[in-house]
């Protein structure tokens, strides 16, 4: 019985939260890696673009709520996401037309692109803050829990409760669907394959008649979808605050690089690597050991490897180690 309790404990505090957080990171990391692979620059505006998409989603959610439209037990935001995506894509295409296109035609070095993306980051941050303000906003409605901890305890008679939030299930489900669709698109359709070809060797791809304008357009469309959904899911699960989104850029970068930048599947797994290591290393295992070990061997301290303050530092240290020993990432991305 104690053993089952211990498993439930880990599920509740480590596995499910890490899976949710990992999914959110993974979507962002695929966004980074696609931009890097196809448009060839590190996009420092990642976090702020995600917050722009989320902002559009929130505005539509409020609009629907004011109309009285809702999805019942599901959050209204799910209905608003497609509209948010349209706005996000329009914004990205606008930026591409006025900013990035020029440098692409100039064949500027990646560093210059990165600098320009910092300019875009400042502008986007201003736009988001001017429109919606810097405050913390929750836009979740509908049923909050699928299983409540207390109900679970009563149902199974265990000591440990398992709480399953509906946002967690939605996040994981949407991520699986979206990522499978994306990989199907990249690996099976003609456009997807030409994107891969363009990413591998630009000149060769152009020689074989691939239209670069179309590739760039499709990339921004996919990026817009990923950014908005990733951002909206994070906002639903936690809350929306422009500053947090800017900060989230860092673990997202870490996930993309750990997975091997330019490799979408690597980025997907990288998100989970980062999320699980952050949570595994900063969780206090005291209760777990109380369940598993006999009473005489119970630990005195919290049995916490690192304090939760160092959550971000964990992912960054992983990144530094990966960069040192395997610069192409765990799953073989582009060689740096």
């Amino acid at each position: 019985m104690d053993f089952v309790n211990a498993i439930i404990l880990l599920l509740n505090y480590i596995f499910i939260p890490a899976l949710t957080y990992g999914s959110q990171l993974a979507l962002g990391a695929i966004f980074v890696t696609l931009i890097y692979g196809i448009l060839r620059f590190a996009n420092f505006a990642t976090g702020d673009m995600m917050s722009f998409g989320t902002m559009a989603t929130i505005l539509f959610t409020w609009y629907f709520q004011s109309l009285g439209v809702s999805l019942g037990v599901l959050p209204t935001a799910l209905l608003a996401i497609p509209f948010g995506i349209i706005f996000m894509i329009l914004y990205m295409l606008l930026i591409d037309k006025f900013v990035f296109k020029y440098y692409r035609h100039q064949k500027s070095p990646p560093v210059q692109f990165a600098m320009v993306s910092i300019g875009v980051m400042f502008v986007t941050q201003a736009v988001v803050r001017i429109i919606i303000g810097p405050a913390d906003r929750r836009f979740f409605d509908g049923e909050k829990f699928i299983i409540k901890a207390r109900e679970f305890k009563e149902m199974t008679g265990l000591n440990e409760g398992l709480a399953l939030k509906s946002t967690q299930v939605i996040t994981i489900f949407v991520t699986i669907v979206l990522v499978s669709l994306l990989f199907w698109f990249l690996n099976r359709t003609k456009t997807g394959k030409s994107m891969k070809a363009y990413s591998d060797n630009e000149d060769l791809a152009l020689l074989s008649g691939i239209d670069p304008k179309k590739i760039v357009l499709v990339t921004w469309v996919i990026a817009g979808i990923l950014a908005t959904i990733g951002g909206a899911l994070y906002g639903l699960d936690k809350s929306f605050k422009p500053f947090t989104y800017f900060n989230n850029m860092l673990p997202i970068f870490a996930a993309a690089i750990v997975g091997g930048i330019g490799n979408p599947f690597g980025a997907f797994l990288g998100g989970y690597v980062i999320a699980f290591s952050e949570i595994l290393l900063t969780y206090a295992y005291k209760k777990f050991f109380i369940y598993v070990l006999p009473e005489s061997m119970e630990p005195e301290g919290l049995v916490q490897l690192l304090s939760t303050d160092y959550k971000f530092a964990v992912s960054f240290s992983i990144l530094v180690i990966v960069l040192l020993y395997r610069p192409s990432g765990i799953f073989k991305g582009k060689v740096l």
Binding site: V111, G119, M121, A126, L250, A254, I257, A313, L323
Partner: protein
């Protein structure tokens, strides 16, 4: 003289702008803008050495700034004897363990050939070492943090004059840059940017959460000053006389003696804070001028020529027998050390150390905007960038408020859109910075004062 006309013109315009702030807003605001412009200028000089001279991209400026600030705390605060008694021994033991660990790793690296076993054993030593240090230092740290937590709760510093910390801050930042450079300098440019950004976040995380050393988010306030205190000045005879002399025209108009005394008191209070700010300006100006002379000398020396050669063509410089890796590391350390000085200066001026305020927007990206806008590779350009960008960063809110009111003059005050815009005035500075950066990058990619190399 003639060829430097644009430099002189640009700086004169900048000075006139600051003077205008002084005349129309207040001299206090003008001087505090000027002081922070000087500090920003030191930071941009550091970043410019790395980016403009050598083409190294360093997005970790925030980390070095914070280390400089930490130096200011560790140098100037009086030691907390009680905390030392409570946990000093444990901390020293932990430090000693770290030194032993580093020595053991160095020994292994030297003695054994590169192999899988060596890598794994080093990893094992590091992990077990960290665990050992964590658990052995734990009681000491707790004891230190328990010592009067509302006031101290940390080890304190050395109780020396705070100006020393400007040098120590440079040493700290240079030390960190040595480690970071050893680890990360082999990476390609944009990865180096990401890696340094993340490492600086790690540094901030440590400063924020190691309360025994830095007091963390509880902040350290009331640091010693190199300048006199306002309160002391207000009761000093020579200062009151000075103020009286300066304002004799204004005062003589007032007939009533009591009124005149009241007016004088008001002027003394205002004058004291202006005087203190002027003291800081003097100190900072000395630092800026010394650094400017040194960096200009370096730029035109054989070493500067070599750095430019490395920047423009690494392979060719390498083929000519220049040690690219070593020079990159050196310049990375030098640039970061200068940023460290700026960090210490900043804390000196504020008189407080707030780890929570170190954010990449303000301390990394804004500095980069300064370097790019001002003109990378040109020291005068970098300093000008620091001035222009900081000035706009502060004055963006009043300017945009004016513009909003100007364009919406016909709309009534109660209009929701107008009210919303006026409420979000503080965020227009981000817009201004972003647009400024984008326009400069597009239409004047070398900055306001471009790099101009002449062989003397």
């Amino acid at each position: 003289m003639r060829k430097n006309l644009n430099v002189i013109a640009a700086y004169s315009i900048m000075m006139v702008l600051i003077l205008l702030v002084g005349i129309f807003q207040s001299w206090n605001i003008a001087l505090s803008i000027f002081n922070l412009c000087l500090i920003s200028a030191v930071m941009t000089m550091g970043a410019n050495i790395q980016w403009g001279y050598a083409g190294l991209i360093n997005f970790g400026i925030m980390g070095y700034t914070a280390l400089g600030g930490l130096a200011a705390v560790l140098i100037s605060v009086d030691p907390v004897q009680e905390a030392w008694r409570a946990g000093g021994f444990d901390i020293l033991m932990a430090l000693w363990l770290i030194v032993v660990m580093v020595l053991v790793i160095r020994f292994i690296l030297k003695r054994f050939e590169k192999s899988k076993i060596r890598t794994y054993s080093i990893a094992a030593i590091i992990i077990s070492g960290i665990l050992l240090i964590r658990f052995s230092a734990e009681p000491g740290i707790e004891a230190i943090e328990a010592v009067d937590p509302a006031k101290t709760g940390f080890l304190g510093g050395f109780g020396l004059p705070i100006v020393f910390s400007w040098i120590v801050g440079a040493l700290f930042a240079g030390g960190l840059a040595f480690i970071v450079g050893k680890v990360a300098l082999g990476l390609r440019a944009d990865y180096l940017a990401i890696a340094t950004l993340l490492i600086s976040e790690i540094v901030i995380a440590i400063i924020k959460h190691e309360d025994w050393l830095t007091r963390g988010v509880k902040n350290v306030i009331g640091l010693k000053r190199p300048a006199p205190y306002e309160v002391d000045l207000q009761t000093t005879d020579w200062f009151i006389k000075l103020v009286e002399k300066f304002n004799s025209g204004k005062l003589s108009v007032i007939e009533n003696l009591a009124d005149r005394q009241a007016a004088l008191n008001q002027l003394v209070i205002e004058g004291s804070s202006v005087f203190v700010k002027l003291c800081y300006s003097g100190l900072f100006l000395v630092v800026v001028i010394i650094l400017l002379i040194l960096t200009q000398k370096a730029l035109y020396s054989p070493w500067g020529r070599m750095m430019r050669a490395i920047r423009d063509n690494e392979e060719a410089a390498n083929a000519m027998g220049k040690n690219v890796v070593k020079q990159h590391l050196l310049i990375f350390i030098l640039g970061s050390a200068i940023v460290g000085i700026a960090g210490a200066m900043l804390v000196t001026q504020d008189g407080l150390f707030t780890p929570g305020s170190y954010r990449p927007m303000r301390y990394t990206f804004l500095i980069w905007v300064m370097v790019i806008v001002g003109g990378s590779g040109n020291n005068f350009g970098a300093i000008l960038g620091g001035f222009v960008v900081w000035f706009l960063w502060i004055e963006a809110a009043p300017i945009s408020l004016f513009l909003i009111n100007f364009f919406t003059a016909g709309i009534p005050e109660t209009n929701a859109l107008k009210a919303h815009l006026i409420e979000s005035v503080p965020y227009f500075r981000f817009l201004l910075m972003g647009l400024g950066l984008l326009f400069i990058m597009r239409y004047r990619p070398k900055g306001i004062l471009p790099e101009k190399i002449e062989i003397k």
